[in-house]
Symmetry: C2
Subunit: 108 residues, 2 copies
């Protein structure tokens, strides 16, 4: 079980997908990703937060400040309709890319 870096170009897809399950704040997003990857994939904060800001500017996600269970403030993000369409598109693109990679790695 080696440590893995996120593949450049897949960060938005990952975040959109996680947020499509339920609204979460940034820190929780990074924990979800770690959990879903059995701790193998680490989403750096310096990557995650700027990505959230960028995607909010693009209208893919929306946010508001809330209090968490433990009395801390956190900015909670949720997927917008446009974000849902973007997610579908990026998901399809990923499936295409990984299929192509599969056929290349299958060469003999």
């Amino acid at each position: 079980m080696t440590k893995l870096n996120i593949l450049p170009g897949t960060l938005d897809l990952i975040v959109l997908k996680v947020l499509s399950i339920e609204p979460l704040h940034g820190y929780a997003v990074s924990q979800r990703v770690q959990a879903a990857s059995n701790g193998r994939l680490l989403l750096e904060e310096g990557s995650l937060y700027p990505a959230l800001y960028r995607m909010e500017r693009k209208g893919w996600i929306e946010s508001e400040w809330q209090k968490t269970d433990n009395g801390r403030r956190a900015r909670v993000y949720r997927l917008s309709d446009e974000g849902g369409r973007q997610l579908a598109q990026e998901e399809a693109n990923w499936l295409g890319v990984s299929a192509v990679m599969g056929s290349i790695l299958d060469l003999k």
Copy 2:
């Protein structure tokens, strides 16, 4: 069948894999990739050639000028032993990454 861009971070793996089948010159590499992807994946020349130079500097591939069938000169690249090890490593990394992506995209 949409057009696909290469995922940043997978270029070396793609080229090493193609060269592991048989030695090829740059132009042929790009054609192999297109063929293996049913024309969906285009390897830009401005990406491919610098990648070849870079990998040769690292010792992963070796090259020599040759004449092709049609009387043109071409620099033919072949995988080195070190390149073979690098390929194995990148291939394993890809499998890990795509498995992780799969489990994230499977979230419900």
